[in-house]
């Protein structure tokens, strides 16, 4: 351990809305400079947790400190020391790019030449140099998200909360965005991020996984895969897979079958089934020349294993 105090400490953090518990006694610590991923199905409680951690929403139970400040008693100190990109785009679409940055900078108490210089520097940083005069609403989605990231960094926070920063962003632009996130972390900024793109979660040092308000897993990507997908994962490709998936699901030794793009991921008990055996089941059920091979488990396999454990199998 480095001995540096944790950037975030949550202890039994909870939030109820009337009789409904959205976040249920969640405890974790996030170290300085780490990229911490927070995953879960829709409604699991990710945004509600973030809103408590940034001092926007009071917890109804438990406690949390962020950058050394208590979120319940010092929400303003918390707000001043963090950057936040909300799930909903919050910049003014009808304002030019630079005006948006100046407006949000002023809200953080910045002004004059220092603010303008900082805004220029950030535009360069997120590859938007020279676009200060463009109307924000005319930017394509990926660039808007980069602008929102820039606006959250104006006051040089040591800790940023990014709530689904790449939702709806195209694959090329998502890579650019994640390069920026990793650069920030490499400079020592702590990043707390949510996403439904599980390939992105591979960039996180550690990941917390929420189900129905509870934190059910917290580990490195590798650790999560070892714990939650200890089985053999096979990838099946070919025609007629959808029709054959039902039969495969009922075969002894098969734990789960889920579509991944045009392919199927099949989790099997390694002692009972291998690739040729699965290919045979698929062929017998009508798939045309199925190709089956072993694959490394992905975080999406982990997500399906964790989130779907208590719910019916997903149809292909």
């Amino acid at each position: 351990m480095t001995g540096a105090p944790s950037a975030i400490v949550a202890r039994d953090l909870s939030r109820r809305f009337g009789a409904f518990t959205a976040v249920d006694r969640v405890s974790f610590e996030v170290e300085q400079g780490e990229i911490f991923g927070y995953l879960g199905a829709n409604g699991a409680g990710k945004s509600t947790t973030i809103r408590m951690l940034i001092g926007l929403l009071a917890p109804t139970g438990g406690a949390a400190t962020v950058a050394g400040h208590d979120v319940a008693t010092a929400p303003d100190a918390v707000k001043a020391s963090i950057g936040y990109m909300s799930q909903k785009f919050s910049l003014y679409l009808d304002l030019p790019v630079m005006e948006n940055l100046l407006f949000f900078g002023a809200a953080y108490g910045l002004s004059g030449q220092a603010l303008r210089r900082r805004a220029e520097e950030l535009l360069e940083r997120v590859d938007l140099a020279g676009q200060g005069g463009v109307t924000t609403g005319d930017l394509p989605g990926g660039l808007r998200q980069r602008l929102a990231l820039a606006s959250s960094l104006l006051h040089r926070p040591r800790l940023v909360f990014l709530d689904e920063p790449t939702a709806g962003v195209d694959p090329v632009a998502r890579r650019v965005f994640w390069r920026l996130i990793r650069e920030l972390a490499a400079e020592g900024t702590t990043v707390f991020v949510t996403t439904h793109y599980l390939d992105e979660a591979e960039y996180c040092r550690r990941i917390g996984l929420m189900v129905d308000g509870k934190l059910v897993a917290l580990d490195t990507p590798e650790g999560l895969k070892r714990t939650w997908v200890p089985d053999r994962v096979l990838v099946a490709r070919g025609r007629g897979l959808t029709g054959a998936a039902g039969a495969l699901r009922r075969a002894p030794g098969v734990k789960a079958v889920a579509p991944f793009g045009a392919a199927l991921h099949v989790r099997v008990d390694a002692a009972r089934l291998d690739a040729p055996a699965v290919a045979a089941v698929l062929a017998a059920a009508g798939a045309v020349a199925p190709e089956v091979e072993e694959a490394a488990p992905s975080l999406e396999d982990v997500f399906l294993a964790v989130v779907d454990r208590a719910t019916p199998e997903v149809a292909p």
């Binding site: 809305f17 394509p140 959808t242 991944f260 045009a262 149809a315």
Partner: protein, 250 residues
């Protein structure tokens, strides 16, 4: 027999907004029973194309047809076409159940049909436990799924979905795709735009839109087979996308 009319036709669509040429000769065709994906970088023109097909936008040049009809001028298109726009809106102060009822009334669904479909969609979207919750108290992804459920209540002959699964979790995305496949097997034509390459791979055909026209079109497995280089590992669909877009920019 006369040849069947395609479900959707876009013929040489052009549309300019100020200095931006949003559509630059976009042409594609979708048959009944086909699931067609529009993919492409942010700002490529996917939404503009969908709006033109829906009759919400008058192209500068070219024309769109839905089931052989002109969506801009023929009121008969309205009942046969469904649309979930990228910027959709619900009644934020109505509950989940009330929003569904409202949309059912708009498309004049008979009560028993509504009840059956709503129940199914609430199950698939996992919103069933939350029917009494106001829309503005839903999570981002739940709100999106409610909008999608409202759009799917009315099962039209042609369905246009503009990035319907942004913010939707991986479990629900799979369930929604199973439903879309069921719809097209029943003969519906679906045009969907998506930034998810795993979803693109599940379309019958995709069109890769770039600067307002098609850069590439075909069945995903064919496109992948054509992109495969002897001796190298099979490319993923995302790698194919990135290669095409970066190649076009160079």
């Amino acid at each position: 027999m006369a040849p069947a009319v395609p479900a959707v036709e876009a013929r040489g669509l052009f549309r300019r907004f100020g200095a931006v040429q949003a559509l630059a000769g976009l042409t594609f065709q979708v048959e009944r029973g086909e699931l067609y994906g529009l993919i492409g970088p942010d700002g490529a023109g996917k939404t503009t194309a969908i709006r033109a097909v829906a009759g919400l936008l008058d192209p500068d040049q070219g024309e769109a047809r839905v089931l052989g009809l002109d969506p801009l001028r023929d009121p008969a298109v309205r009942e046969r076409l469904g649309l979930m726009p990228q910027q959709y809106s619900l009644y934020r102060d109505l509950t989940v159940a009330e929003n569904l009822q409202f949309f059912a009334r708009l498309s004049a669904l008979p009560r028993p049909v509504f009840r059956e479909r709503a129940e199914r969609l609430l199950g698939i979207t996992r919103l069933a436990p939350f029917t009494a919750r106001r829309a503005d108290q839903l999570s981002g992804g739940m709100y999106k799924k409610l909008a999608l459920a409202c759009a799917l209540l009315h099962q039209p002959e042609v369905l246009l979905l503009d990035e319907p699964t942004n913010g939707v979790d991986p479990v629900s995305r799979r369930e929604l795709w199973a439903l879309l496949h069921e719809f097209v097997e029943g003969g519906m034509a679906v045009v969907i735009s998506t930034p998810y390459m795993d979803e693109a791979e599940r379309c019958h055909r995709v069109g890769l839109v770039h600067h307002g026209r098609l850069l590439l079109e075909g069945a995903p497995e064919r496109l992948l087979a054509a992109a495969r280089v002897e001796g190298l590992p099979r490319p993923t669909f995302e790698e194919l996308f990135i290669r095409e877009i970066e190649g076009a920019a160079a």
